[in-house]
């Protein structure tokens, strides 16, 4: 039998290899498409406000089993599971402060209901929850217009810590102002302020930290504060140890550039 295909392969083996390649192509295409759909669905995750104790975004996406037990156990019924075709990733719990703010139950029933740990039991006190951060639109906040409002400050459950008032005395042709300021070290993101805000569209809103919070960076030294040591030869802790006695200050040293490196 000299049944050799054009490529010199035995026809049955050739068939087998072609079939194998076809199968692999279908499987590969399908898997890629599936993976794309998943990533696309997860793309809106940064915009969701999750219940207290929720893991960081990617971990939460992985861990949430979409069972809705937190939803059932939420006393004010503010939690919802995202149905298909919505703006947020499918099936996972979220809340919308303007219509339903978290009332910060001390026993955290939503977290205790979570079977997978997507709402982490490491959260012991509800005051330590960081669901989001209140952000003020100073162009539309009544207090910034010189009106006496301060409702957010009065309604805030972390009294006097999460939202403080900064007073600006009356000036010529200017009202005195009592301006609310949000402090991220105390704000849980419960959203009571957003719910209570009297403007047509809330001027104080809860947003996920990732969307609003900046980071100052390690290299800034605030010399005028008491908890920052001021020295001429500041050495960063993470600077690599140099063996040579007169080694130049490494380029990576924080705060060093052409202005103070002696160069220029």
């Amino acid at each position: 039998m000299s049944e050799q295909g054009p490529s010199g392969l035995h026809p049955t083996r050739r068939d087998f290899l072609v079939k194998l390649a076809q199968g692999a192509a279908i499987a590969g295409t399908g898997a890629l498409l599936w993976d794309y759909i998943l990533r696309n669905e997860a793309r809106a995750a940064p915009y969701a406000l999750r219940p207290p104790g929720a893991l960081a975004e990617n971990d939460f996406n992985a861990a949430c089993i979409k069972c809705g037990q937190c939803v059932v156990d939420c006393p004010p019924h503010i939690l919802k599971l995202q149905p298909a075709g919505g703006n947020l990733p499918i099936g996972m719990p979220f809340y919308t402060p303007r219509t339903g703010a978290c009332i910060m139950c001390p026993d955290i029933p939503c977290m205790n209901a979570c079977p997978t740990g997507a709402l982490s039991p490491k959260l012991k006190r509800i005051e330590d929850a960081r669901m989001g951060l209140a952000v003020i639109d100073i162009e539309n906040c009544l207090s910034y217009k010189g009106l006496r409002c301060e409702i957010c400050h009065r309604e805030c459950p972390i009294k006097g810590k999460a939202i403080t008032l900064e007073t600006h005395p009356r000036q010529t042709s200017r009202h005195a102002m009592f301006i609310p300021l949000v402090h991220s070290d105390a704000c849980t993101g419960c959203g009571i302020c957003e719910k209570a805000c009297p403007t047509e569209i809330a001027a104080i809103r809860i947003l996920p930290h990732k969307l609003v919070q900046g980071k100052i960076g390690e290299h800034y030294r605030l010399g005028w504060t008491f908890d920052t040591e001021v020295t001429q030869d500041f050495k960063p802790a993470a600077a690599p140890p140099s063996s040579a006695p007169d080694a130049p200050v490494p380029k990576t040293a924080p705060g060093m550039d052409y202005l103070n490196s002696g160069g220029l």
């Binding site: 990617n58 992985a62 069972c67 149905p83 099936g91 740990g117």
Partner: protein, 313 residues
């Protein structure tokens, strides 16, 4: 396995079919018993979940009767129940699950290991109502297949689910599952999930018979593997079977009723059988009956003995 199966001819098979068609109204209604029971359990679970979520069904203060959904739930505040397939996917994403969900998964898995993995498909899964309706309508309209797909495709989808879960860090099937969508939205608020059900209905109706449950669904594939050694089985009596084929025509997984293999094994052994109970009441000769696997051998030996007696008379 002593006696060879008696040889029934074509006339016997036709007689069996005739027997089936001349059943009395009562007997005909009685043959629907498992389907009615299955609808009761399917809607019963939905009702328990829905009542606990919306009507405050509780066993004690703040202890819902059945909290959650089919992905994970808590029964009377004591017994966690977790979808083992979802648990496996989450495990593969690298997340360390809380003990509660692992215990829940073990309970559910153990239950289905005993009574048959795909009992979930036929008796619990809400999509089954849709695919059953679609299959029924397809038969009524006499729609022919457009494409053919191998039934083993679901095992590849299963493998892909696990692989993609590990690679993407997201529970791959849970994020796209029409079962999860439909079920969640019935309990927790409507969205576009019903379009997925509609797609399955149309696919099953117009394109491929039993297309979703029998060819694609990775959860069904998972439970097929789980149910391989289950104890609740359909016993097959080769002595009375006339090979009329009525069982295979109503079975959503007709490949499990390969009579040649059933002759040897004496029961429907494939994990793909969902113990739905269609074949058993339809069989004109009563050759297919639910049975407990450890007893099947002795029951078949008895049946053989009776058959030998009858023939020698």
């Amino acid at each position: 396995m002593s006696s060879a199966p008696p040889s029934f001819g074509k006339a016997d098979a036709l007689a069996s079919v005739e027997k089936l068609h001349s059943r009395s109204l009562g007997a005909n209604a009685w043959s629907w018993r498992y389907i009615v029971l299955r609808r009761l359990t399917q809607f019963g679970f939905l009702l328990l979940f829905f009542g606990s979520a919306h009507w405050g069904w509780q066993v004690a203060k703040n202890v819902p009767l059945l909290r959650g959904n089919l992905s994970a739930s808590m029964f009377i505040g004591l017994i966690p129940l977790t979808d083992p397939f979802a648990t496996l996917q989450i495990f593969l994403t690298g997340h360390v699950l809380r003990q509660e969900s692992l215990i829940g998964a073990a309970i559910v898995l153990g239950f289905y290991l005993l009574i048959g993995g795909r009992v979930f498909c036929a008796w619990v899964c809400p999509v089954n109502v849709v695919t059953d309706a679609s299959g029924w309508l397809r038969d009524k309209l006499g729609i022919r297949a457009v494409i053919h797909l191998p039934r083993a495709l679901r095992y590849f989808v299963l493998a892909a689910t696990l692989l993609i879960s590990a690679v993407s860090g997201l529970a791959a099937f849970e994020w796209v599952s029409p079962i999860g969508m439909a079920h969640r939205e019935i309990i927790f608020g409507l969205g576009m999930g019903f379009t997925a059900l509609l797609a399955i209905f149309l696919f099953d109706l117009l394109i491929l018979k039993n297309g979703w449950c029998g060819h694609l669904c990775p959860l069904g594939a998972f439970y097929s593997l789980v149910g391989k050694s289950a104890l609740l089985r359909v016993r097959f009596d080769k002595n009375t079977c006339t090979r009329c084929g009525e069982c295979a025509s109503v079975c959503p997984e007709p490949q499990v009723l390969n009579l040649k293999k059933l002759d040897e094994r004496g029961y429907v052994f494939s994990g793909e059988c969902s113990n739905c109970g269609r074949c058993s009441p339809i069989c004109p000769e009563g050759s297919l009956k639910f049975d407990f696997k450890p007893l099947i051998r002795s029951h078949n030996v008895q049946a053989d003995a009776i058959a030998v007696q009858r023939r020698t008379k």
